[in-house]
Amino acid sequence: MTKKKINILDNEFVPEHTILTEEESNEILQKFNVTFDRLPLILETDPVVKIIGAKSGDIIKIVRSDSPAGKSVFYRYVIGEDTKQGLEEDSVDEIIDEEPGEE
């Protein structure tokens, strides 16, 4: 039995994803007056990201066609596993209580 070719990009729920060039990325950051850490995120391990070959640090342009406006554009910044953990390290290190169970 030949293996079926599965392309998840064909699915109706998956909108168009495109990787922006460095120039286009800078344009977008300027247009919205933000730095890349303020953009919505998408993981490097996301199935679509893996298919289009985007890497951590890229900006992806997503065109959704299901909004009331007809077409709407969305941008996501690609982060890898290590960057994600960096974001979670904002919490303070636990100090060991001398008397546990005070709460």
Partner: protein
């Protein structure tokens, strides 16, 4: 009367200020009006400009508390929703969680929803073929050893398991004894399998009685066919095509089956959609599922509120619940988190480490009685010298 090309060029020129849907409708109506009322070039431009003005007036003002409005818009119909789930008894339908419990499930981003269901569509050339649909159902539905055996018992004297197979059921599922033996050899601890007539004798080597009993249960429930997690699959006729609904969801495996239309088949398990189709698909799934639930209850909420919720939940690349293990728990303000859930924990921890609350959010400012940083409070006044 203006040239159609003039209308097109003017629309092109002002197009950036309007949305695609509006442009499409405007173009259509301009063409019609042009025919009917013999518009001059000036009139065409005037109409387009009026349209742009009307659109801009309808836009949400910057600083509007859209989050609060979305919450209210979803919360209010929530009070009118049933707390019960309807139960579809019998074979004819698949049980799905409805109403408020379903909304809660979605918003809490539960990793194991109550009633995962897949809707599987067939390839274009197979859509109207009932036999093909039944073939695919057989591929999907799980069959265990237990379901194709007439009897099964533990032979304590010989420390083995004897299974009497039901040839009729085996044939129905398209399985031969060789297939079954092959699948059983994959089980751990199987030492030997002998078959005589329709009896299979399995030996597990030197084991205790308790281990033999456990082995017995594992053998009985061993899956021979079908995809994992699927309990059963039904065929329904919708319009002119046959659609398969499954109790249980495994989108990744279902896509692999030849004949399944990958472009339309979907699951209602949001986390699975994220795993298989990506975060954007998951976002759409959240919107679709909430809309479906509301619609089923006869309620209507503007899709924008739902879109805002879905966008918020998927902002960081994975689905986060709204609750304290997700979005609400990640607020930087201590007072905001404390006023949400587990009050003392947050306050104690903050006191221990001398944390600072910059009082820049909505909740904190309400607590201390200051104007909130939204709407009017979004701007500060400075006096000119």
């Amino acid at each position: 009367m203006s040239d159609l090309s003039y209308i097109d060029s003017q629309l092109e020129k002002h197009g950036k200020k309007l949305t695609k849907r509006i442009l499409d409708q405007l173009k259509e109506k301009l063409y019609i009006a042009n025919e009917k009322h013999n518009l001059s070039n000036k009139e065409v431009v005037a109409i387009i400009e009026e349209c742009i003005k009307a659109y801009e007036v309808s836009l949400v003002d910057p600083g509007e508390a859209v989050g609060t409005i979305a919450a209210q818009s979803l919360g209010e119909p929530g009070t009118q929703m049933t707390l019960n789930t309807f139960h579809y008894a019998g074979v004819a339908d698949i049980n799905v969680t409805l109403g408020l419990p379903r909304i809660i499930e979605i918003v809490d981003a539960r990793k194991d929803p109550n009633t995962p269901v897949m809707r599987i569509y067939l390839d274009e050339d197979l859509r109207e073929n009932r036999d093909k649909a039944e073939e695919i159902v057989k591929e999907i539905e799980g069959t265990t050893i237990d379901s194709i055996s007439r009897s099964s018992k533990i032979d304590v004297i010989n420390m083995s398991i004897v299974i009497e197979l039901d040839t009729y059921k085996m044939e129905k599922q398209g399985l031969t004894i060789e297939d079954i033996k092959e699948k059983l050899y994959k089980l751990k601890k199987v030492e030997s399998i002998e078959d005589e007539d329709n009896f299979l004798t399995l030996k597990a080597g030197d084991v205790s009685l308790m281990e033999l009993r456990k082995f017995f249960n594992r053998v009985k429930s061993h899956q021979l066919k079908g995809i994992k997690n699927i309990k059963r699959a039904l065929i329904k006729k919708e319009a002119d095509e046959y659609v398969i609904y499954t109790e249980g969801s495994n989108l990744g495996e279902a896509f692999k089956i030849p004949g399944v239309d990958i472009s339309k088949s979907i699951s209602n398990d949001i986390n699975e959609v994220q795993r298989v189709l990506g975060i954007e698909a998951a976002r759409k799934a959240i919107v679709v599922e909430i809309r479906k639930t509301l619609e089923e209850q006869g309620l209507e909420v503007d899709v924008r509120h739902i879109m805002l919720l879905a966008d918020l939940m998927t902002m960081e690349g994975e689905i986060k619940q709204i609750g304290r293990h997700g979005i609400s728990g990640e607020k930087s303000s201590i007072l905001a988190r404390a006023s949400f859930e587990v009050t003392t924990n947050h306050l104690m921890k903050a006191a221990k480490f001398g944390e600072i609350d910059s009082l820049s959010g909505v909740t904190e400012n309400v607590i201390i009685g200051q104007p909130i940083p939204m709407g009017t409070g979004n701007v500060k006044l400075i006096m000119k010298k």
